[in-house]
């Protein structure tokens, strides 16, 4: 059965009150609640995406011993609003050789693919919009729309730089999807289900209960997933599709104003989603250490735990970007196919054998001897 946020709320009294308010119309009430919560999530993620650009500059300034943005608002915090206003007031230019329909469509595909993944992201045990049975599989599948958007954006511009960037971007995103998917398969195998509720529910709050430390193979799988996810979101050191020194600006060279803004927003939200997935698959997700209660205030604590883990990973992503140099294209492909994919397959086999040999127990359970 698919749990949703509405079916979670329906166990409390105020749901009946709301239902009476909507004249017992289940569908309309569900729609209203979903829409409200979806708006909250989108607003939150857009803010996080905007703050991401700010954090990126601040952290890079920090790493390079500069000050970074400090003019707009306190500590330059309102920089993101200034950026947004700037994007909207820039002229929208389309190359006259462009494929106009696809030029419009490409940012929309990127945005749709990223937004649709938010529907299954587990913020807390109740506040997960739809805990589908196929949760993680759905997330992997729908985020491949982003690769399509990147390719079409590069194609439709009809500029050489864009085309090269789009081609590279699409082949990079699809290549790195393989190690990521196989690492996720290892976790699905350990958890015994694809829903986020199942996966997170089988972990605990403390580090020895996380899937990352379940067995050595899962530990390696975490790093394979991280590298692959960095490459899938086109972040440095894998930002070849938009390598400034080689390709001007890659697939969005010809995009200006708001359309460029959509690409940037999609990218920053995707980084957030990827970090959230890593947190919930490998790092215990929303589980609060030590406490197992099912009351409404617990949801807030779980939400805080989840966001903390995710934002720490977000920081690490930005940190890596300003630390490591960019790869070459041939290195990129050999990293994916000659290192990550064989390691990921090996991990999957290792996890399967571990499941059978040790009957699904983690290292901690074996060492501590608890049932």
């Amino acid at each position: 059965m698919n749990q949703t946020v509405v079916s979670y709320l329906s166990q409390y009294e105020f749901y009946d009150f709301l239902l009476a308010l909507f004249r017992n119309n289940q569908g309309v009430l569900a729609f209203t609640l979903y829409l409200l919560l979806a708006l909250i999530i989108v607003g939150m993620c857009a803010t996080i995406g905007g703050l991401g650009t700010y954090a990126e500059r601040k952290i890079s300034a920090d790493l390079q011993a500069r000050i970074g943005p400090n003019r707009v608002g306190p500590y330059g915090l309102l920089q993101m609003l200034a950026d947004g206003v700037k994007m909207m007031t820039k002229e929208d230019i389309m190359p006259f050789t462009a494929d106009k329909k696809l030029f419009y469509l490409a940012p929309l595909l990127c945005l749709t693919g990223v937004f649709a993944t938010l529907a299954v992201l587990p913020f807390s045990s109740g506040f997960i919009m739809a805990d589908l049975n196929v949760g993680i599989f759905y997330l992997v599948a729908i985020s491949s729309l982003v690769g399509l958007g990147v390719f079409l954006g590069g194609y439709a511009s009809n500029s050489k730089w864009s085309m090269l960037g789009g081609m590279r971007g699409a082949s990079q995103i699809i290549s790195y999807e393989i190690p990521v998917t196989i690492s996720i398969l290892a976790i699905v195998l350990l958890a015994g289900g694809m829903g986020f509720g199942t996966i997170v529910g089988r972990q605990g709050g403390l580090p020895h209960e996380w899937f990352m430390f379940h067995n050595p193979f899962a530990f390696i799988a975490f790093f394979v997933y991280s590298v692959g996810a960095l490459a899938e979101t086109n972040r440095a050191p894998f930002d070849l599709p938009e390598a400034e020194s080689e390709l001007v600006s890659g697939y969005h060279t010809e995009y200006t104003g708001m359309r460029f803004g959509f690409f940037a927003l999609a990218e920053y939200i995707e980084v957030f989603v990827v970090c959230g997935v890593a947190a919930s698959l490998f790092l215990g997700g929303y589980n609060v250490p030590g406490i197992k209660l099912d009351i409404l205030p617990m949801q807030a604590a779980q939400f805080v735990i989840f966001m903390t883990k995710t934002l720490v990973l977000y920081y690490v992503v930005i940190w890596i970007r300003w630390t490591l140099p960019r790869l070459r294209v041939d290195q990129l492909m050999s990293v994916c196919w000659k290192y990550l994919t064989p390691i990921a397959i090996f991990n999957l086999m290792g996890c399967a054998i571990w499941m059978v040999v040790f009957n699904g127990k983690s290292i901690a359970e074996l060492v501590l001897g608890s049932h």
Partner: protein, 139 residues
């Protein structure tokens, strides 16, 4: 009172709808706010300040296709592995772990054969395949 189960799909549709709304809303704002002074030079595709030579379409090497080809085969195999992986724990608890392991490993071993073949033949090797085909580059 539990809502209808198919409503679990509603958030997906809502999020997609929100993406489309945001897209068109942003476009509308940019149409209202942005200046509109088109010129021919402005809408030329960027080519380092020079006038663009020819179209950017149709200048690609077959190695991109080979990467896509290997990808799609692995993608499909991972799709088939997902349901088996998600019942692996259940089978193991039922005492059929060995059977499931044999099935799973024999499936993966065929996958490994595929990647080993491509590795040996140099399909995973970006530079090598480039050297093979650089004579056809100018077509």
């Amino acid at each position: 009172m539990i809502p209808a189960q198919f409503d679990a799909l509603m958030p997906i549709v809502i999020f997609m709808g929100l993406a489309i709304l945001l897209f068109f809303g942003g476009h509308y704002l940019s149409v209202v706010l942005a200046p509109k002074k088109p010129s021919h030079l402005k809408s030329t595709p960027y080519e380092c300040g020079e006038l663009p030579v020819g179209s950017a379409w149709s200048m690609f090497n077959v190695r991109f296709y080979v990467v896509g080809l290997i990808f799609i085969i692995f993608d499909v195999e991972s799709v088939l592995m997902f349901p088996v992986a998600s019942i692996f724990r259940e089978l193991n608890d039922m005492g059929q772990g060995g059977y499931a392991l044999i099935i799973f490993l024999s499936f993966i071993s065929v996958l490994i054969e595929g990647i080993a073949y491509c590795w040996k033949k140099g399909d995973l090797d970006w530079v090598k395949s480039f050297q093979h085909s650089h004579k056809k580059e100018n077509k």
